[in-house]
Amino acid sequence: MDIFLQQIINGLVVGSVYALIALGYTMVYGILQLINFAHGEIVMIGAMVTITCINFLIGHNVNLPGPLLLALGLAMAIPVTMLLGYLIERIAYRPLRKAPRLAPLITAIGVSIVLQQAAMMIWGRNYRAFPAILPSDVVEFGGASITTLQIAIIALSIVLLIGLFLLIERTKMGRAMRATAQSPDVARLMGVNVNNIISLTFMIGSALGAVAGVLVAANYDQAHAYMGFMIGLKAFTAAVLGGIGNLGGAVLGGILLGLIESIGSGYLGDLTGGFLGSQYKDIFAFLVLILVLIFRPSGLMGERVAERA
């Protein structure tokens, strides 16, 4: 039983990170019907900037407690990724807003490759170790163990999710975002600056991505220029699973995907008698993606696509 509990915990930690990233995909999709494939790279750059920043501070003998150093790193990374998100939308997507939907999709893939290569030029090809500034105390309960960092990851994800929901449901800006998602033209008629709202959506999504990137890097103690690709793809799957365009769906999809992956790869070997081993961990995400696309294209909580078009 403790093994099962441990796999649940593993899944929750991974899943809450997926959820944070999936929100970035789903927010942009909700407003532009665009899949921003460069989002995974934003996650990676968030992690890289934070690591560089913390290393810089440590290198200059700034003696602060670990969480504070991390906060400073994040305080640097979030504006950088927000600016990047803004620029990507402004340069790569806005000129194509009236173009056929395939064009911005291909541009998105192009932006993703450009960012990945740029990161490789800046930070090199090697794995970068995440500075050992955070306590890695292990809490045991019920035979399973969880680190304080992992508890913090889940807690921080929940706080950010609640904050985002409040922002969207309770503020004037959130109402403008919802209006733009429903119909940009009508929103414009009502005096909403649609361009600003779209930029803002990219920036909020990027900020969440940066936090997620730092959490991933801190949890696995390393980051590298390619890390955004796979995690971006998984989070995208989570967004589709939950119903792309639906914020609650992104969270549900993220958590579910994390659990499916963790439990699936933990027991796959035993279930198939060693025929399929844990190296097939990554297939779960894509198996889920295929199944969702076949049987429920709008996702678990998604609205019907037809209403949108």
Partner: protein, 403 residues
Amino acid sequence: MSIARYSMIAAAVLAITACGKQEPAKKAETKPASAPASAPAAAGDTIKIGYAGPLTGNIAHIGKDLEYGARLAVDTFNEAGGVELAGKKMKLVLVAEDDQGDPKTATTVAQRFVDQKVVGVVGHLQSGTSIPASKIYSDAGIPQITPSSTAIAYTAQGYKTTFRLIANDAQQGKVLAEYAVKTLKAKKVAIIDDRTAYGQGLADEFEKAAKAAGATVVKREFTNDKETDFNSILTSIKGTQPDLIFYGGLDAQGAPLKKQAKKLGIKATLMGADAWQTPEFIKLAGADAEGAYASIPGQPKERMPGSKEFLAKFKQKFNTEVQLYAPNSYDAVLVMVEAMKKAGSSEPAKYLPELAKVSYSGGVTGPISFDAKGDIKDGAITIYQVKNGKWEIMEVVGGAAKK
């Protein structure tokens, strides 16, 4: 394969290099010109041995190190008046060529050796160059002894001319497993590999040897060489409570694996092979690197049986320290000459059978004999453990190391 076809390929390759680079082009012009001049001598009173390795580029220092090793052996023989074969004193000549650590250049160099009628080759440095070159040596019937290439594939091609003076990856897996079971007293082991040729090869050998030594393999898990999340694998391994976890793969995966194992409260010892034994592993794993085991084929130069005299001679002659595998290339020349003495001839066809069954004990690295594939028997492997943030030597297994 006809000579005409060979020379066409060689000509094509030379033409390509001539277009690309100035330096190799010059070499290509001068070398064949000098070859006919010395060719009669090769049949007469000199023995021409080739050395190939990277003499330029980022690992040139290791390549040069090997060349010095071979050169020291050649000079030692010549200073003693040469080698006596069938009652005739012969001088040794070492022809050193730069393969640039590049597989394509390695085949060009190999072909050049064949054209120059060298009777044996010491090299190449890496498996990536030794393997493509070995086909050419095999076709020409020239014995090749690599001092340093460890890939299993090198001697597994079925060529009679390939030999090596270093423990291969399979032997490494075996030694690690025996160390784990016998010295570290691991009864239950779990094995993870990254499904690459290297990682899987090592893990398979480890599994075989661990079972043979009496341990139970409680779990065999797999990952890939890009993964960073091992939590679910480690969790299912944790349930089987192994004493030791072996990972066949690279340091970039090994480091997070080690850290995550600690976070999950796994008490088992973690062990990897030579791709773990890097400063990078310690950098990535930080304080959690403590206690990890890994190995490197070969032995520390200070611990080799003939090291004291060799290191002094080397230093005196080249005014530099031994980098890595110079003793192996020194021994490669020694064992080659030993086989020639036994055969009474420096003709490859005559001394090759003697080389295959040689049993030589005068080397720097220890006694040398080869198994059926051409791998050194009982090659030395050094086992390390991370202590206080450094890889410390724990034990040298195999070879004739001084304890």
